[in-house]
Symmetry: C2
Subunit: 208 residues, 2 copies
C-alpha cells in the first residue's frame, strides 16, 4: 500500500472541486515527490481508480480555451470516510518499512484533533519501545538457527535503529504539540481562514 491514495484523497478534500494537474502541482510544491509516487501516471490513474471505487466523483470535464480538457473531482461521503480511515491508519500504525505512510499521515494530521494526534504519537513511541525489547530476543534467536545467515541480525538492528530515530522525533514533536504548535481540527482561527492554502504557482517552482 503506497501513500499516494491518502495524498490524493487529502489534497482533493482540501481543494475540491479540483482537477488532476492542480492536485499534482500542489503535492510537488510540498516536495512530496521526494517520498511518494507522484509521476503524472500515478496521479491521474490514482484519481480514476479512487473514482472507480466510489471514493471520488467526477464533477465535470471543462475545456477552457484550446487547452486540454480537465476533469475535476470531489470526495464522496465514502471518500471522506476512506480518507479518515487511511489517515488514522498511517498515524496509529507503525509501518516499519514504509516511511512514506507517516509522511503522508502527518501532512493531514491537522484534520484530526490535537488530542488524537498526541495519543497516536504516544502510542507510536510505546510500540517502538516494545519493538526494541522484542528485537533483543529475535537477534538472539538468529544466532541459534543454523541455516539463518548472521547478516539478518543487522536487519533487526538497522530496522530498530531507524525506528528509534522516529521515536526521538515523535517525543520532540509531542512536546511542541503540547505547547500548542500547529493548528488542528476543532481549534479556532485556522491558519488559512484569511489566507487560503496553495503552493507553487508553476510546476518548476518558479513561484511568485
Amino acid at each position: 500500500m503506497s501513500a499516494t491514495r491518502l495524498l490524493l484523497l487529502g489534497t482533493v478534500r482540501i481543494f475540491q472541486p479540483v482537477h488532476g494537474y492542480f492536485v499534482r502541482r500542489e503535492l510537488l510544491s510540498w516536495q512530496a515527490d521526494a517520498w511518494a509516487n507522484l509521476n503524472p501516471g500515478s496521479v491521474y490513474n490514482g484519481l480514476r481508480s479512487l473514482a472507480r471505487d466510489g471514493f471520488m466523483e467526477e464533477v465535470g470535464t471543462e475545456t477552457e480555451g484550446g487547452r486540454p480538457a480537465r476533469t475535476t473531482y470531489r470526495l464522496t461521503g465514502d471518500g471522506e470516510n476512506e480518507f479518515l480511515r487511511l489517515l488514522r491508519e498511517s498515524l496509529w500504525m507503525v509501518a516499519r518499512f514504509e516511511p512514506d505512510e507517516l509522511m503522508a499521515g502527518w501532512s493531514f494530521a491537522w484534520a484530526l484533533t490535537r488530542k488524537e494526534v498526541i495519543a497516536a504519537l504516544e502510542s507510536r513511541v510505546e510500540q517502538i519501545e516494545a519493538s526494541a525489547r522484542a528485537a533483543v530476543f529475535a537477534i538472539e534467536a538468529i544466532a541459534t538457527q543454523p541455516d539463518m545467515p548472521d547478516t539478518v541480525a543487522e536487519h533487526y538492528r538497522l530496522g530498530q535503529a531507524r525506528l528509534d530515530g522516529e521515536a526521538a522525533w515523535a517525543r520532540q514533536l509531542l512536546e511542541r504539540l503540547r505547547a500548542g504548535e500547529y493548528w488542528f481540527d476543532g481549534e479556532p482561527d485556522p491558519p488559512w481562514s484569511s489566507q487560503p492554502p496553495g503552493g507553487a504557482r508553476t510546476l518548476h517552482g518558479t513561484a511568485g
Copy 2:
C-alpha cells in the same frame, strides 16, 4: 528502483545454477519479505526481466517427475558486474526513502572487502551528518515561503531523525567490523567452506 533486482542477482550468484522457487524460498527464510517485494510474481518476473536484460541466462528447464517444469538460471558476466554495481550503489548511496536498499546491500556486503564496506559505512555517516547540517537551513527556508504548508518542516525533521538512527547503527556496526566481526571477501575461512549456506527447507519455515 526496488531492492528486488539486487536480491535476485545476489541470491542466484550464491546458489547458481538455481530455479525461481529455490531463490524465493531462500529469501523468505531470511525474512526478506518483511522489507522487499517477494511475491511469486515479483520473483519470477524479476528473473525473466534480468534474463531479458542479459544479466542472467536460462541454464535449462528440467521436469522432475510429474512436477511443474522448473527453469534454472545463472549469472552472466554482465550480471556479475550489475550485481557489484547495484551492491556498491546500495551501500555507498544514502537513499533517504528506500530503506530496503541498504537492507539488501548489507545482505551481500560480504561480497566486497571489509575495507570497502568500512569505507562505505564511514561515508554514509558523513553524508548523514552533512544532511543534518543542511536540514537546519531547509527548515528555516520553509517558514519563509508563504505558500509552503508548515507541516513540511516536520518531513525534514522526521526524515533526518530516521537517518540519525541509521547513522547510530552504522557507527556501532563500524566498531564491530573493525574488531573483526563477520566474514568478507578475500578473508580466509569463509563460514560456509564446510557448511554451505541455505535457509529454511520449506516455505512455511518448518525447517528441521
